[in-house]
């Protein structure tokens, strides 16, 4: 429909609310035109505040915001020409679907014919044809969601902002809408900024993920970068499952975990106390005496084994009392059972070393 898209740039944006709460703390971020970027983070981490500064509903305390190269820090929302999908949809209850969608076309110098063509096109795109005369109340949650999308896209904004647009839907509908939103992004080519605290949505939809915690941007990267190279313990634990071996760095290549030296690749961290993070699928279970010299190994006790069809999930408890999990293909024969003492091993190249968040705090 449109190939119109703009980049967004935040420069050291800080928002301190009147209550003194910091909504976002010195956030800098560059988003390219046409990208699908998700803001991911736990509740209260500043995702909505950041989105609202871009939308213009929140005026930053300091810093600046550019959209399509234009500084919009002091421009009101009505002049930013953005599409916004609100969490509760915010559809106008007194207007039909058609009037809701037509609202944003007002004053854009379009002919009557063009207006009705745009409305028809966008309703077809979100698969809502035939419901033009309904009121929002007469639509299901998923249909309301589509109206909200249509309404925000019909005037072809260069950037579309969405704040947890799927959170009001049930699981099946959420998965379906997630696919739809991906398709619509490819069709319109507009820059999409999507807020969520659901890691599966973030991993499945985005070109890049911006990870928030406590008002700060912790890491920005593609889903696989965030998953495979988390730069903090928080990132590792927030996105996907991980096994965490906390310890002290004893040399440029080793970390001592519960008395066991573990090797890691890459340079030594700034802090003495750090953690090695390994994803479940990169761990192997071996008999306690089956160690190999090129692997790290840690003894563990199997606390539970669950069967998931294509794989088995093995829960273990490590020497320091922490628990972890690993995966084993279900096609290999089951060699272990609950209560076994085993060795958990991994190739040092398949693990990352991160600062120990707690020691830093």
């Amino acid at each position: 429909m449109s190939t119109n898209s703009s980049g967004v740039r935040l420069r050291s944006v800080t928002k301190r609310f009147r209550s003194g709460t910091i909504g976002i703390d010195n956030a800098s971020l560059t988003i390219e035109g046409g990208e699908f970027v998700t803001f991911l983070g736990p509740s209260g981490s500043g995702k909505t505040t950041t989105l609202n500064t871009i939308a213009g509903f929140v005026r930053p305390t300091s810093g600046s915001i550019e959209i399509g190269g234009r500084d919009v820090t002091k421009v009101p929302p009505s002049k930013r020409n953005l599409g916004i999908v609100f969490q509760n949809y915010a559809l106008f209850p007194h207007m039909s679907v058609r009037d809701n969608v037509a609202f944003g076309l007002h004053g854009r110098g379009l002919s009557k014919h063009e207006v009705s063509k745009r409305i028809n096109d966008v309703l077809t795109m979100v698969r809502l044809g035939g419901l033009e005369d309904r009121r929002p109340k007469q639509l299901s949650g998923g249909q309301q969601q589509r109206v909200a999308l249509a309404r925000a896209l019909v005037y072809q904004p260069p950037v579309l902002l969405m704040d947890e647009p799927l959170s009001a839907l049930d699981k099946a509908l959420r998965d379906q809408m997630q696919v739809e939103i991906g398709r619509i992004h490819r069709e319109v080519g507009t820059t999409f900024l999507f807020v969520t605290h659901d890691q599966n949505e973030a991993l499945g939809l985005s070109d890049r993920i911006v990870l928030f915690n406590e008002g700060r941007i912790l890491q920005v990267g593609t889903p696989s970068e965030l998953y495979e190279q988390p730069r903090s313990l928080f990132a590792a634990q927030f996105l996907g499952e991980s096994n965490v071996f906390r310890g002290r760095v004893t040399s440029a290549q080793t970390l001592e975990f519960a008395g066991v030296p573990l090797r890691f690749n890459g340079g030594a961290p700034a802090t003495k106390s750090a953690a090695i993070v390994v994803r479940p699928e990169n761990l192997l279970v071996r008999q306690a005496d089956e160690a190999r010299p090129d692997e790290n190994q840690v003894s563990a006790l199997i606390t539970n084994i669950s069967y998931f069809g294509s794989f088995r999930s093995i829960m273990v408890s490590y020497l320091d009392g922490s628990s972890g999990q690993l995966r084993e293909s279900a096609s290999s024969e089951a060699r272990f059972s609950r209560g076994d003492n085993v060795s958990v091993c991994w190739d040092p190249g398949r693990a990352v070393l991160v600062d120990d968040g707690e020691a830093a705090a």
Binding site: R80, F92, H94, R134, Q138
Partner: protein
Amino acid sequence: MAATARRLSGRSRRTSALLLMLPALAVVLVFFVYPVIALSARSFLEPEPGVSQYVSLFADGTTRTILVRTLVVAALVTAVTLVLAYPYAYLMSLSGPGVRALLLFLVLLPFWSSLMARTFAWIVLLQPRGIVATLLSSIGLGGVPLLGSQVGVTIAMTQVLLPFMVLPLFNTMVRIDRRLLSAAHSMGASKFRALVRVFVPLSMPGVAAGCVIVFVLSIGFWVTPRLIGSPQQSLIGQLIETKVGTLLDFAGAGAISVLLLVITAVLLLVAGAGARLLLGSPDSGGRNDE
């Protein structure tokens, strides 16, 4: 089994609700429904069964004039209170809890004194050299007779009835989801357009409720026009009072009362239908779940 039990408990709950309502119901029946029925019955039965009372009501030029004047004054009072109350209620709905409480207190202030006392206070204020006259002449509207005139009556009634407009408006406005306005702005709407296309339509139920209440109360107003207005400018309430109190014409008074009741009922129906048309009734049309 379970369904029967539920139906039984439903019925018993309805019975106890009815019992709780009984005292209030009795009061309404004895002091409102009975007099209304008795009075309207007399209007159809005296002097002989038929509609002669109503025929003479419309034939009598004075009654017609008074009726029209009453409706005009009521409409004027309704319009003025709406114009004054709308921005006030809007401000109230926007402000924080502290300011809101203060504004609510101010609007309810008239309720703290009796209607009589307030009306006499207005007599003082509306004196030819009183505050209101001075204010009016300072903006170039001097020489308007206030006491004993329709203008004075309208001013005093507006003040008395203002709370009945502010409260329903406020009640509707605080329920309007402000995110709808943010949504309108995000789509490029100016403050004015968002107000006109989103806020005002959604406040219409409050407007309708306030207008009906104020209009109906204005029609029935009696003390204020009696004390501030002049006998030559009397309103329908005074006419009823004269008929009942001086002429002992209960049938004639009954006929006027029935007419006022009909006007009120029609107004309520129109306002209700208007609100439904605007906001769409919640159960019209089929809901289509995906």
